[in-house]
C-alpha cells in the first residue's frame, strides 16, 4: 500500500514537471518570437478551405481598402488592408474572435476565422510555408 502511494506520487511529480516544462517552453517561445520584422516586401496570402484565394504584396497597398470575402453558405468577413497592417473589421460569425485579434503586420500570428474557414497570413514571397500540403486533401 505504501509502495503504491509512493509510485503514485512519482507519477504525479513527473506529470507536473512535464506540464511546467511545456508551459515554460511556450512562454519562452512567445517571448523570443515577439520581434517581428518589417512587413515591407512581404506577401499577404488569403486562404479559404485550404485553398489560396488571393495574394497581395504588402508594398502594393498605398491606402486603406476593404474587401468582402463571402463563403458559399452565406457567411462573410470584411478585411481591411492598409499600410499599417491587415485586420478583419466585420464578420458574420457570432464570436468575432477574428476581429478581436486586431491588426497584423508580420508573420508571427495569422488572422483566423474558424467559423468561416478563413486564414490570412503575411509571409516572405519565396517561403510559402503556409501553403496547404498534400495531407489536407
Amino acid at each position: 500500500m505504501k509502495k503504491e502511494l509512493a509510485q503514485n506520487r512519482t507519477a504525479a511529480f513527473i506529470l507536473t514537471a512535464f506540464l511546467i516544462i511545456l508551459c515554460m517552453g511556450s512562454l519562452a517561445y512567445l517571448f523570443i518570437r515577439r520581434s517581428g520584422g518589417s512587413p515591407d516586401g512581404q506577401i499577404i496570402r488569403i486562404y479559404r478551405d485550404s485553398v489560396l484565394i488571393e495574394e497581395i504584396p504588402f508594398d502594393a497597398i498605398k491606402e486603406e481598402r476593404r474587401v468582402r470575402y463571402s463563403t458559399p453558405d452565406g457567411g462573410y468577413n470584411i478585411v481591411s488592408f492598409s499600410p499599417e497592417g491587415v485586420s478583419i473589421t466585420e464578420a458574420s460569425c457570432p464570436d468575432k474572435t477574428c476581429i478581436h485579434i486586431g491588426r497584423i503586420r508580420d508573420s508571427s500570428l495569422p488572422l483566423v476565422c474558424l467559423p468561416n474557414r478563413l486564414v490570412i497570413t503575411i509571409s516572405d514571397p519565396e517561403e510559402d510555408s503556409t501553403a496547404p500540403d498534400a495531407v489536407s486533401y
Binding site: 512562454l27 485550404s50 474572435t97
Partner: protein, 183 residues
C-alpha cells in the same frame, strides 16, 4: 445474470446522467454568452468539462462518454454552427481519453493533474481539427498560446469539479445491480 445487469444502465443512473447532461448544457450556453477573455481562436474556459470530469470520477468512463456525446450534439443543435461540432468532437473526446488515461495512472488521485492534462489535450485536439479543416499550417502559430491556456483552464476546471463532487450526493447511482422487485 449479475454480469449482464452490470452492463445495463438502471433508471437511477439514467436520471442522474440526464440531469448532469442538462447541467453541462446550461453551463455551456451560459459560457458562450460570455465575451472571450483573449482574442485567441478556440480559447474558452471549458466549464462544461467540469461535468464530464465529475461524471468520469463518479460514474466511470462509459457514463462520461455518454454525457459528453449528448452534450456536444445538443450544444451544436442549440447554440453552434455546423463547423463547431467538429472542433467540439475532436477536442472533447481526446480530452476525455487523456483524462481516463491520466486518472488511471494516478489511481484516482490528484484530480487537478487529470484536468490540467484534459485541458491541454482538448486544445491540442481542437487545433488539430482546425489544421485539418483550414488546411493551413499557419494555425500551429497559436499553439504556444493554447498550451498554457489549456493547462490553466484545466486547473480551474479541476478545482470546480472537486467542489462539485463534494456537493453531489455521496452515494452515486451506479451501474451496480440494485434490488429488483418481481411484479
Amino acid at each position: 445474470m449479475q454480469k449482464k445487469n452490470s452492463k445495463k444502465i438502471n433508471t437511477g443512473l439514467l436520471t442522474e446522467l440526464a440531469l448532469l447532461t442538462a447541467l453541462a448544457l446550461a453551463v455551456y450556453g451560459a459560457e458562450s454568452a460570455l465575451p472571450a477573455l483573449l482574442p485567441i481562436p478556440g480559447l474558452r474556459l471549458g466549464l462544461s468539462n467540469i461535468i464530464t470530469l465529475a461524471v468520469l470520477r463518479r460514474n466511470g468512463a462509459r457514463s462520461a462518454a455518454l454525457v459528453l456525446t449528448a452534450r456536444i450534439l445538443l450544444a451544436a443543435l442549440l447554440f453552434g454552427q455546423p463547423v463547431s461540432l467538429l472542433y467540439s468532437l475532436s477536442g472533447g473526446f481526446l480530452c476525455l481519453l487523456s483524462e481516463i488515461l491520466i486518472d488511471h495512472i494516478l489511481r484516482k488521485n490528484y484530480l487537478f493533474l487529470t484536468s490540467a492534462f484534459g485541458g491541454l489535450i482538448h486544445n491540442l485536439g481542437q487545433l488539430l481539427a482546425a489544421r485539418l479543416i483550414m488546411g493551413s499550417p499557419a494555425v500551429w502559430l497559436y499553439l504556444p498560446y493554447l498550451i498554457p491556456a489549456g493547462i490553466l483552464t484545466g486547473l480551474f476546471v479541476g478545482l470546480c469539479a472537486h467542489f462539485l463532487l463534494k456537493l453531489l450526493p455521496s452515494r452515486p447511482a451506479d451501474s451496480r445491480p440494485q434490488k429488483t422487485f418481481k411484479s
